[in-house]
């Protein structure tokens, strides 16, 4: 029995599943922080894709890894801004439930 090894497909499926979970969370969650977490999951899926492609498609260049580093840092900045807005909203309205954000029409 040959040893099954992990191939590119495995990583891509993992990435796709993770992306799907994130997308599901984004579309169904009502809490703003949960939506932010789901977005982070989607970005994780992207990073897995990038690193897998880097390992199997372009092993001699580090394009995918560099891309992943940039994705991580930019995601941190985005989440920082998102959380800051959530804090500001909480101060104003003591509530971060997305369903109540209907002052503007959705």
């Amino acid at each position: 029995m040959p040893t099954p090894s992990i191939t590119l497909e495995h990583y891509l499926i993992l990435g796709a599943v993770l992306f799907g979970i994130g997308l599901f969370g984004v579309l169904t969650k009502k809490n703003a922080i949960a939506v932010l977490i789901s977005i982070e999951l989607m970005l994780c899926a992207v990073n897995i894709n990038l690193l897998a492609f880097n390992k199997y498609i372009t092993p001699e260049a580090f394009i995918g890894q560099i891309f992943a580093i940039f994705v991580i840092t930019v995601a941190a900045a985005e989440v920082g801004v998102g959380l800051a807005i959530i804090i500001a909203i909480y101060r104003n309205r003591l509530n971060i439930n997305l369903e109540d954000f209907d002052w503007l029409k959705w």
Binding site: T3, P4, I69, A76, A77, L83
Partner: protein, 118 residues
């Protein structure tokens, strides 16, 4: 003959037994005598004052936010530090500029009172 994955499976089973078994043994063996003293929140052995469900000050969140942002930017320093010898002066100057921009951000946060604890 076990395949590689068989070993992983055994490891998994043993791991689950080890963790769950310990908790289960404690649950079965330990004596349970409830008292009011036991159900209060533990705070270094001292009696708690006031309600235990308190809200954290938003200052903590501000610290956390600033920490996350500055912490993650450091990721750029690692590849540069590893290749420092071969990159030379030009990359060094670039990194100084990068850090200088970060310092301006820090200065701004300081001036805006993000580090004040009032």
């Amino acid at each position: 003959m076990l395949s590689v994955w068989g070993a992983v499976l055994i490891f998994l089973i043993v791991g689950v037994i080890f963790g769950v078994g310990g908790m289960l043994a404690g649950y079965i063996l330990a004596p349970r005598r409830k008292s009011a003293q036991k159900s209060i929140a533990y705070e270094c052995g001292v009696d708690t004052i006031g309600p235990t469900w308190v809200q954290f000050r938003t200052s903590y969140f501000l610290y956390a936010l600033l920490f996350v942002i500055f912490d993650v930017e450091i990721i750029y320093l690692y590849p540069w530090a590893i290749k420092f010898q071969s990159l030379g002066l030009f990359a060094f100057v670039e990194m100084i500029i990068f850090l200088a921009i970060l310092v301006v951000g820090l200065w701004y946060a300081w001036k805006e009172g993000a580090f004040e604890w009032t």
